[in-house]
Every structure is written in structure tokens, then in C-alpha cells.
């Protein structure tokens, strides 16, 4: 506790100006010349405050502004990032202002796309001089020796943790060399090494090591993830160009299980189906819109199934059925061969889900036709309605009910309507 307070006080209250001013005359460093613009400074993160203080506190326009090399970099790649770190490390033996440099480097990691790269973090730690910060007596180790430096590396480790980058044993060795075994970064490192491996693989829906950037691939991941409720689900990718009269040329990732096909077969032809959406699902930092094909719940059936369950006299053991010929052994809830499936929810029965490349009505229509062509012939006779919760981009030709609405000018959309009546519903 004392250690922590001490650390905070030194960081924020007492020393900052002194520390910064100590670095102020560094106008011959390449990251501290006058080319730096105010914009650069604002982006410079960790050392921004310091440099402002410096310029303001000094009150002299001749004093240099610390230039941030990361904003000035032309090519934002890992290679150039590492090169800059290397240049800084090789500048001189004292490595002045390394804390500011590390804060600046941390701030700009995402721009260079290296925020998930352990090698880069190690390169930054390597900037720290070795041996200097190792406490040599009890008091030093107890009162956070070199607090600013220690806090800097703790922040670095924190950023690693936030980004899910797991340190390795080499990093432990580096931290040992810099701060000694009583250093606070080491404690942080050990805590990380206890928890992070335990959390790393806890997700029931693990994503591939490098999450693909392609929207189609991410859509596949999203649909697969949602389809895990039913182990028999099949995720298939369709191309709308295979559909006659489709306007949009895009892909459709559709998820449906044998169970859902069966429910669809048994669905009454008189009751409409709804395409609902768009709903959101996040795959790491990417958002995917998806739609469901669903019907209103068959309350009667659900009630009868519940009733059936309620009526079973659990205490009555006189009616045990014995099967012949390898039929599946009986279940008590299965006397009529009907079990409630996971897709039959209180608020509706879900038959399929999909994500399309364009999320347009046209692509959704193509989806229905593709489902119909791929083993769900029952869809041909059931009216399908749109029920959107937000405006769906009207990229495609508007889809209207043929009978109710006057024939639109585009003959294509009329053909789209097919046997079933498709009525546009825009609730919101």
C-alpha cells in the first residue's frame, strides 16, 4: 500500500517537472527537434503532457518540442516500427528519455498494427537500460526504486494484457535484468503469467489464431458460432448469382439443421414465415448483421407438450414400455414421439439464420430461394414476410407483393415474388 502511494505521489505530484526539465535540453535528439507540429504533440500520448509542460514551463520559444517519430513515419509497418526502436536504442549509451519514448511507442502501436505482437513489446522493454534500476538494499526495493520507469513498464504490461498478448519466459529474464527480482513489473508479470494462460482458452467458441479479415470468413465464423445450439447444424455458403433473377451478386452464409428442416416440413402452409433482422453479432472487433427465418410460436403445440409433461405421473411405474428390434429406447417424455426442440422457443420457432454480403432484401430473397432449392421444398408454399427492426439498405430493387401492390416498373421484382406473397414490412 505504502509502496503504491509512494509511487503515485512521485509520479503525479512531486517530480514530474523536475524530471521533464532534466530532459529538456535534449534538443539535439532527433525526436526533439522543431519540426513537430501541435497535432503531432497531441497524438504523442505519454510524453505529450511532459513536452507541453516543457515548452510552457520554459516559456521560451527557442526551446525545442519533442518530436514524435511514430507520427512522422511514412510507412506504418512492423519493420519500420522496430527500426525506430532500434535507432533510439542505438542513439547513445544513456538512452535519455526512454520512458517518454516507450509511452509514445505504446500509444502508436495500433497504427502500425503491432499491438498484438509480443516481439515488439520485448523490443520496447529492451530499450530500458539493464542493471541500473535494480534495487540494492531493502529500502530501495520496498519504496519502488525508479518509480517512473517501473510504472512505464507496468503500463506496457497492462497494454499487453488488454490486448491479450501473453508474455513469455524471455520477457521474464529481460524484466529481471532491468528491475531485479523485487521489481514491481516482475510481480505484474507473474500475476499475468498465472491468470492469462488460464483465461486464454476459456472461450467456448474459440476463434482462429489470426482472425481472418475477409467479411465472408467472419460471417462464416459468426453463423457457425450461433449454430452451436444444435450439433446437427450445417453451415453452407451460397452464391446469389446462381439464383435466377437475383439483382445482387453476393454471398450468403446460411445455417440450418436437419431438425429445423423437419420443423419447416411440418409447418402449416397457412402460417407465414418472417425474415427478421438485422441483428448484430460481434466477432472480436468485427460486427456482422444477421437475419433469422422464423415463425410465430405454435402455442398450442407447446402447451400440449408442456401439458403432456405435467400429466405424466412420475410416481406411476406400471406403464413401462419395452421396445423391440433396436428401436431407440423409450423416453418418458416421448410417448407420442414428440419432443420440444431447441428451436421451438416461447417467442417463435427459428428455422434458419443467415448473413449476406449486402444485407439487402434482394439477397435475403435469394436466400429463401436457395433454401428452397436445397432440400426445403416446403418453403415454396409458405408465405414469407419481411419484418425488419431497422432500415435495411435498399440497394436492391424493392420487393412488393404482386397481388396487393400495383406491378412495379421493374419486371424483375415481379418475378422475384414467386408463388409466395412477399410483403414488405418496415416496422421501424
Amino acid at each position: 500500500m505504502i509502496r503504491r502511494m509512494n509511487c503515485l505521489m512521485r509520479l503525479h505530484g512531486i517530480y514530474p517537472n523536475a524530471l521533464c526539465q532534466r530532459h529538456a535540453p535534449a534538443n539535439n535528439r532527433n525526436y526533439a527537434n522543431q519540426t513537430g507540429t501541435p497535432d503531432d504533440e497531441r497524438a504523442a500520448g505519454g510524453n505529450q503532457q511532459n513536452s507541453k509542460n516543457r515548452t510552457g514551463g520554459g516559456g521560451s520559444k527557442s526551446l525545442p518540442v519533442v518530436r514524435n517519430p511514430f507520427t512522422a513515419a511514412q510507412e506504418k509497418t512492423k519493420g519500420s516500427y522496430l527500426t525506430m526502436v532500434e535507432i533510439f536504442a542505438g542513439r547513445d549509451v544513456h538512452r535519455r528519455n526512454h520512458v517518454e519514448f516507450i509511452y509514445a511507442a505504446l500509444k502508436h502501436m495500433a497504427e502500425f498494427g503491432v499491438e498484438n505482437d509480443l516481439e515488439v513489446y520485448k523490443a520496447l522493454i529492451n530499450v530500458m537500460p539493464k542493471g541500473k534500476f535494480i534495487p540494492t538494499n531493502l529500502f530501495q526495493s520496498e519504496f519502488m526504486h525508479y518509480p517512473k520507469q517501473q510504472q512505464c513498464i507496468i503500463d506496457l504490461l497492462e497494454q499487453m494484457e488488454d490486448n491479450g498478448v501473453m508474455p513469455d519466459y524471455e520477457m521474464e529474464a529481460m524484466l529481471l535484468n532491468v528491475f531485479g527480482k523485487k521489481g514491481h513489473p516482475l510481480r505484474k508479470y507473474w500475476r499475468m503469467m498465472y491468470w492469462m494462460p488460464k483465461f486464454k482458452n476459456l472461450s467456448p467458441w474459440p476463434l482462429p489464431d489470426h482472425v481472418p479479415d475477409d467479411t465472408l470468413e467472419i460471417a462464416k465464423l459468426a453463423v457457425k458460432r450461433m449454430c452451436t445450439v444444435d450439433l446437427r447444424s450445417q453451415v453452407s455458403v451460397y452464391e446469389t448469382k446462381n439464383v435466377k433473377d437475383a439483382v445482387d451478386d453476393t454471398w450468403i452464409v446460411s445455417g440450418m439443421s436437419a431438425e429445423q428442416s423437419k420443423l419447416l416440413r411440418e409447418h402449416s402452409q397457412k402460417k407465414a414465415l418472417y425474415i427478421e433482422g438485422p441483428f448484430l453479432i460481434w466477432i472480436r472487433n468485427r460486427r456482422i448483421n444477421y437475419f433469422t427465418l422464423r415463425a410465430d410460436p405454435d402455442l398450442e403445440l407447446l402447451a400440449s407438450l408442456d401439458e403432456q409433461e405435467r400429466q405424466i405421473d412420475q410416481d406411476d411405474v406400471t406403464n413401462i414400455e419395452v421396445p423391440f428390434f433396436g428401436r431407440p429406447p423409450p423416453r418418458r417424455h416421448n410417448q407420442l414421439g414428440k419432443v420440444r426442440s431447441v428451436h421451438q422457443q416461447e417467442d417463435g420457432t427459428i428455422f434458419a439464420i443467415c448473413a449476406t454480403g449486402t444485407s439487402t432484401k434482394d439477397s435475403l430473397l435469394s436466400w429463401i430461394r436457395l433454401l428452397e432449392a436445397n432440400g426445403n421444398a416446403a418453403l415454396g408454399g409458405i408465405p414469407v414476410l419481411f419484418r425488419f427492426t431497422s432500415t435495411v439498405p435498399a440497394k436492391a430493387v424493392e420487393i412488393e407483393g404482386a397481388s396487393e401492390v400495383p406491378v412495379p416498373s421493374d419486371s424483375r421484382s415481379k418475378q422475384n415474388v414467386r408463388k409466395s406473397k412477399i410483403v414488405k414490412f418496415n416496422l421501424i
Partner: protein
Amino acid sequence: MRSFSRPLLCLLQRRYNLPQNIRLKATKATTTSDIDQTSGQTPRTTHDNQKPGVMGPEEQQKLPAREPLAKNFFVGAVDKELLGFPEVITREDMTNLQSHLVPLKNYFDDEKVDPKALDSLKQLGLYGLNVPTDYEGKGYGWSASLMASEPEAAHTSISLGLQSHRVIVDLLRDVGTPAQQQRYFPLLVNGSLIATEAIFEYTPPEDEYFSTQAKYLSDSRSWVLNGEKAYVVCAPPSTPQQQLFLVLAQTQHPNVSGSMGRATTIFLVDSNEAGVKLGEQHQTFGCREATMRRVHFDNVQLTEESIVGQAHDGNRIAEHLVRSARLRSSLPAIALAKRLLNELAEYSVATTQCGVNVKDLEITRAHLSESMCSIYAMESMLYLTAGMLDEFKAQDVTLESAITKYYTLKQLYRIATKSLTVIGPKSLHTGQPGELGLQDAAQLYTQNESIDTLSMFVALTGLQYAGQLMNEGVRKSRNPLFHPGHIFGKFFATASLENPKTALQLSENVHPTLDPAAQCIEHSVARLQMAVEVMFTRHGSAVVERQTEMRRLADAASTIYAMFACVARASRSYCIGLSLADHEMLTASAVCLHGRDHVKALCTEIYNGHHLNNDNNLLRLSSQITKSKGYFAVHPLTFNF
């Protein structure tokens, strides 16, 4: 004194098929050991009164049915009288039978029997063993026809086809109409028509019983059959042979729609009918000399006469069908097990390793004896079950026949793998008897139904019976606050799984030497009953979902039946002094001692419940396995960081 006389008395009564009332009177009246001395003469005197040479079930006067034996184990009751091993073939008939068997034995002892030579099988009369004498068959009962099919069982593949034929003859004899009997028996008896079951399908449908379906056409009063059956044991393709298929098809009740109206109907389909087509032959792992193939039915027109039993009544008839199929299919398995043991014994005697004869190794001796015990139990169960069928009218042996098959196949497979452990890689050389035996054992293990289904059948049949008798108590136990008296009674009961209290006095009906063995049976039955009760109390009607516990129940029940059959047989053998009867006694004692511990372990597991007996862990694991669609653990050397 008393206990010594009873087994013999029992035997005597059975041998002469005394009616039950006489039998009971005699049991009460004669409690002295006189019978022991007179037993030598009594047979002859009584024998004269008996009409010799009648063996057909129609003519034979059967005793009224007794309470089902194995089903009663589930409620803790045992029919002591049945401990007298049934002797259903009279002395004279046995002599006739033995002389009939001589040519069969000679034929099948020859190593090079051609399994495709159906003509010689026909000449030997093997197709007519159980066809009634009215149709020029041999008219053997269950025990006799099983005995008569023992020589052929040396060739498992041949035996498969013949047993299938006999199962259908059994069915026609029991439930066939006179018209059907007149139509088919004259052909079936000499093998000009070979019958076979076509029940199982390659890919069973998801929601239906069978994908083979029959529709009734009311205008022409006929049926149309469509579908495909698999694993049908057919005649070899080389010779043209007319065949009769027993087909189970799904039908729809005319007045009930939907799944409630689903039913099965059993049809007899001649292979010469239009639309019947023999499909591809299955490449099987074992029994390669038997021809198993698919059979297609394409719009086969059938008349109402081809229905066995009544339309939509297949499930009731199926009980007859599976009873006889299970019983008869155990026979080839027993013969195979005997062959395997003989080979193992020969190997052990002939082989010396590092100067020690293999037969002297303790581990080999244990292997040999375990096999011996299992086979002894199988054989006793088979003939006890068949004997009950022969002795009593309409005796309920559904459970007994299922147990016989269950126990036999499980033990057969164990015995077949024993040669691997004893002999090692040499036993698996292509063409080695051990290898062929293992293949055939594996094939029989899967024949007709999976062992899991069979174990569920055994347990459910027992639970069904027990549920009807124990319902009142179960209801009270499940509602303790409404029935405090019942619960206090239970609370103060002193019998435990460790020390069950029994008063069955089974030892009165067996030779006194087997008294400990009879005690084992008594205790095991009591434990089984306690396990059943605790299952009912815990799960109520949901007991049908507790399949891991049901599997234990099936194992326990079959072990008890094995113990019962062994003790009955050994007691008889010893009392009448058969050769090596003392070792039979030893075998029976071994079976019972092992069985007692086995049953105790199983019942303790049931008693402990799924939290203590590891079931819970297994069930939890399985859901991850299905989620991962298989093995889920990553490689042991994987790095995480």
C-alpha cells in the same frame, strides 16, 4: 434328510411330467429319504404308464404355466421348484434322438463341409427338425431341436442360416393360421423352401419403425410392400433356391392418423413374387461363408394370407419371434465358445515355454477355468430356458431367452479374446482357428441386434414386470410425508445391501453340497430387488431414462439367471451321478461365488447413485465429446505461451 430328498423328488416328478397337483402332494407327502433308495426302480415302473415317442408340442401334455422365473428375480422372488433341471425328453425319445444324431455328427465332423452344399443339409433333414410330424417333420420340441442342431453348430455359418429357418418354423407353428401351415410346412420341411428373417435395415429411419412400408389397398383387399432389408441370411447365390422372407414392415392403422397409428405387420414374402430382388452381398467380418445380403421389395403385391398374426399386430407377434430367435442364436455361439476353449486347452497342454508347461501357469489356469465357467453357464441357461418352454404351457420366457443371448454373446466375445492374451500374436495368423473364432464371435456379437439394445430390453422387461407389482410401495416411498408409517417401517428395516435378509430356503431344492451356492443366489436376488426398488424410488417413471443403471440391472439379472441355471444343472448331474459331476459342482460353485460378488458390486453402484458411481462424470464428459465431435483434448505437448 428333508433337504436331501427334495431335489431328487423334483427330478422324478419332472421326468414323468406329473401334473402339478400330484406334484405338490408328493412334495408334501414324501419327506423321507426312502425316495433316495427307490429312485432306481421308480423310473421303470412309472415309465410304463407314459406314452412313449410323443414329442410334438401339440400332443405333449404340458404342465400349466408357472410364474415367470427371471422376471420374478426383479421383485425378489424365486421359483424353487425350477431348481430341478428340466428333463423334457423321455428316455426312449432320447435314444431315438441320439441315433438320429449319429449321421449328422459324422457329416459335420468332416473338416471339409461345403457350406454351399444345401442338398446334403436337406438330405440330412435339418430343415424339418421342428416342423410338426403331421407335415412329415421330426416334430422335435425346443430342447430336442436344439440338441439336434448341435452337430451343425460346429460350422457357425451354416448354423446361422439353419437357425433362421427354424425360427420362422417356430413362429408359424405357434401363431400361424392352419392355412399358412398347410401352405408352407410341406415346403419348409424338406428345404425346398428356405425361410429367413428380413427384419433389420441398413439405415434405420429417423422417426419411423422401419423404412420398409406396406400399404393396404382396400379395393383389391391386398397389400403393397416397398422397401429394403439388409443383413438377410440368404441361400448361397450359386444354387437357385426358393426362399421365404419374414418381413417386418411398417403399416398405418386405417382409422388413426399420424404417429399414433403407426404399427408393424409381419409378412411372409416368397422370393418368387414379382418385385422381390436380391441385392448386394454384405462383406462381413466373420461368418464369411454365410451369405448375407440386401433384399429389395419393389411394389410387391401380397394377399392377406401372407400376414403372420394380424395386421398392425406385429409387436405382439414379435415377442414370439424374438424369443425363439434369441434362444436359437445362442446355440452356435455356445458351440463356438466350446471350440475356442478346446483349442486353448490343447495349446496350453502342448506348449512349453522356458521349461514350464503353459498349462501349469496360474494365469493360464485361471483363463481356462473362467472360460469353462462361462460356457457351463451358457449351456445350462439355454437348456433350462428351452426346458421350461417344453415343460410348461405358454411359459413366459421372454426375459430368459433374452438373458441367454445377452450372457452368451458377451461371454463368447470375452473367451474369443482370451486366446489373444494367452497365445499372443500367433493366434491372429490368417486362417488360424483363433482368428476365425474371433471373427465369428465378433460377427455373432453384432448379429441381429446390438448388445446395448439387448441389455436395455432385459432391464426394461424386468422393470416393467416389477413396476406393476411394486407400484404401491413405490408410490408410498416417493411421497413419504403422506405415508409416514411406510417410511418408518423402511427406516427400521435391518436388511442392508451388505447383509440382505432372505427366507427363500433355496438350498432345500438342491444337493446339500450346493448350499453355499444357493445362499449366493438368494442374496443376489435380494440385492437385485433392493436395487430395483431404490431405482424406482429415486426416479419414478423416469427410470427408463437411466440407462447406465439399467445396464447394471441387466448384468445383475443375467448373472443371477446364470447362477440359477448352473446350480440347477450341477445339482441334477451330481444327484444322478453323471461323469465328472463333482467338477460340475465345482463349476457351479465358482459361477455362484463370482456371480455373488459381481451382483453385489453392480447393486452397490446402483445404490450409491450417479454422484458416487462416476456416472455423473461420464455424462458430463460426453456432452463435450459430442460438442467437439470426438476427442477434445489437445496434444499433451502443446505450449500455451
